[in-house]
């Protein structure tokens, strides 16, 4: 399904490394000296209490923020000032905590927009529409229909996404990210505000994406049950610092994590 990239990395090797990253806005330190890595093919969870810097971490990874210190290495390449569209071209896709769909467009158009980078017919062909531009459109439509089948959203194909219920919007957003055929998929709270059934559906899709396509997934989630079941390794942030890193079982037993979540008596 995915074209092999120039820097092919075998499963289990580090695809994305975060080294000593700090991020501050004026006097506010959002992240302090955070280091961790993401291995190809794994599901990596980033957890922490509210305001711990999880979303800021994702924003650094896909180029919305540039770390004040430290560096992020993706596929063996370090770029000090990566722009979001460069991250996208490199194979990083993401979903947002508050759904960031194109509200006026249909489900189909939203997911087709995820294919933008793969489409390269020039403006001239688009003027004619029929011919090469249409062939390209049809080829990508075929791919998008596969994603629509995979996510079971056939019935809302032509509905403007602004009219969809929240749970479906989250699913369309996942579909749009998948349409980019990403190597690393960043999911920012994919299950926030969902009921149990919707959560179960979403978990199923995440597991399927990981298994079928071998996509590396980094995920922020507050539902500990989900995190413990889905992820291979967990990194825990608190007040912008990393306090634990390891398998779900290790993290669960870590005293600092327990303190961060349950509080400590003073």
């Amino acid at each position: 399904m995915r074209a092999p990239s120039a820097t092919d990395i075998a499963a289990g090797e580090v695809i994305l490394a975060v080294d000593n990253v700090s991020l501050s806005f004026g006097g506010v330190k959002a992240l302090t000296d955070v280091s961790f890595d993401i291995k190809k093919g794994e599901v990596r969870a980033i957890i922490g209490p509210n305001g711990a810097g999880k979303t800021s971490m994702l924003n650094c990874i896909n180029g919305f923020y540039h770390p004040t210190e430290g560096r992020i290495t993706f596929k063996g390449e370090t770029r000090p000032k990566m722009r979001p569209h460069e991250a996208a071209a490199g194979g990083i896709a993401r979903t947002f905590q508050n759904v960031a769909l194109f509200k006026g467009m249909s489900t189909l158009d939203n997911i087709m927009a995820g294919r933008t980078l793969k489409m390269n017919r020039s403006f001239f062909w688009h003027i004619l529409r029929y011919g090469p531009a249409m062939d390209e459109e049809i080829a990508h439509r075929r791919f998008v229909e596969e994603i629509i089948d995979f996510l079971e959203i056939q019935h809302i194909r032509k509905t403007p996404v602004g009219k969809l219920p929240y749970g479906l919007q989250k699913r369309v957003e996942l579909g749009r990210a998948l349409a980019m055929e990403p190597e690393v998929l960043l999911l920012d709270e994919p299950m926030a505000g969902m009921n149990l059934e919707e959560k179960e559906d979403m978990c199923r899709f995440i597991i399927d994406v990981s298994n079928q396509y071998g996509t590396t997934i980094a995920l922020i989630e507050h539902d500990m049950g989900v995190v413990m079941d889905l992820s291979d390794r967990v990194v825990v942030l608190e007040y912008g610092r990393k306090i634990a890193d390891g398998t779900p079982d290790e993290v669960k037993r870590d005293q600092r994590v327990i303190d961060a979540y349950l509080g400590v008596g003073h």
Binding site: A88, R94, M112, T116, M180
Partner: protein, 359 residues
């Protein structure tokens, strides 16, 4: 009951992605084209052609142009009339410098001059949005209007400061100038509109149109899809200004036959075109036609229609009523139906599909 798609199965993605997926729509558009090309020039009086059809055809391109920028890409512009002026003056300069070249070519080429100017004034759009961008494009409007008056080279040092459209013929038929037949002018303008509308609808239905709408709806997520904001916005400015430029050239060369420097392409026209976009429907091709039709037909109906049915009304009062009606309708539609007349048209079609049942 005639407008129903039962039995029309789409078996290919191409037929599903067609601009008119329903057979009834395709027949409808062919009938409209036939009427426009055959019936109107044969039946309509010179008065209708001159006061309604020609300004409608010229302005509809500007409305489509602004709709591409504002409706599809979400960038507001108040420089529309300025860009139209660039097209008109470019066409005038080109045809007086090179009179032997076909005027139809120059009308099209003048669009590219306008596109270039549009890109320059579109540069701030990367950093500023909404009201602030409106003010920046307002600067374009005032600067261009100033240039049309203060640079006499643009109107060939004519002492009256006006453009006088020269006689130009194609294959021996007069197309522009005082002696050109009104039917010929109408058919030329109609052909420009049909072809350019087809092109615009092709563009907005493909990857480029999707990138524009993505930038409009959520620019952060659009960047994440690999869409480069600057390129996408500047392309929208270029295409939009191209349409405005061709519209301006047609407005002067086909409709007016001459233009006073700086008066035709004032801020008032910019606003009227913006209102036409809002009334017709933001982000809709057919809405652009509704909007342009509305702003062209309304003054004529008030000025000539009302006296015809016995309501005495002077031209001056009609003029004021037009402004009031357009203003009130714009506010009403912005609050109640941001997708304008195009949305009402869609609702009507939906009702027609299920008729005689309510749903």
């Amino acid at each position: 009951m005639f407008y129903r798609e039962a039995g029309q199965y789409k078996t290919t993605y191409q037929s599903d992605m067609a601009i008119f997926p329903l057979r009834q729509d395709r027949i409808g558009i062919l009938i409209i084209l036939a009427l426009a090309y055959v019936a109107v020039p044969l039946m309509a009086s010179d008065f209708i052609l001159k006061t309604i059809m020609l300004p409608f055809l010229a302005l509809v391109l500007a409305v489509i142009g602004l709709n591409i920028l504002t409706g599809y890409t979400g960038l507001i512009s108040l420089g529309t009339a300025g860009f139209m002026g660039v097209g008109a003056y470019a066409c005038y300069k080109l045809t007086t410098l090179f009179p032997e070249v076909n005027i139809l070519v120059w009308i099209l080429v003048s669009g590219f001059f306008s596109a270039g100017i549009g890109v320059v004034f579109g540069l701030p759009s990367l950093r500023i949005k909404g009201l602030y961008l409106a003010v920046a494009t307002l600067a374009a409007q005032f600067f261009l209007q100033w240039a049309f008056v203060r640079i006499p080279w643009l109107y060939n040092y004519n002492p009256s400061g006006a453009i006088e459209v020269p006689l130009r013929t194609v294959f021996g038929v007069a197309i522009t100038g005082p002696t050109a037949a009104i039917e010929v002018k109408y058919l030329i303008a109609l052909t420009f509109v049909v072809v350019l509308t087809w092109v615009a609808s092709n563009i907005v239905h493909g990857r480029i149109g999707r990138s524009w709408m993505a930038v409009r709806d959520m620019d952060i997520a659009a960047q994440l899809m690999g869409i480069k904001l600057l390129e996408t916005k500047l392309l929208a400015f270029a295409v939009s200004s191209f349409y405005c430029g061709v519209s301006g050239a047609l407005f002067v060369f086909i409709y007016l036959g001459g233009a006073e420097a700086g008066t035709e392409f004032g801020i008032r026209l910019s606003f009227i075109i913006l209102f036409a976009v809002i009334i017709g429907g933001l982000g809709s091709m057919i809405g652009s036609f509704f909007g342009a039709g509305f702003i062209v037909a309304l003054p004529t109906i008030l000025k000539f229609g009302l006296p015809a049915i016995g309501i005495a009304i002077t031209g001056a009062i009609a003029e004021k009523i037009v402004v009031m009606v357009i203003g009130a309708l714009t506010i009403y539609l912005l609050i109640v139906e941001p997708h304008g007349l195009a949305r009402l048209w869609q609702i009507a079609k939906q009702k027609l599909r299920v008729w005689p049942f309510p749903y």
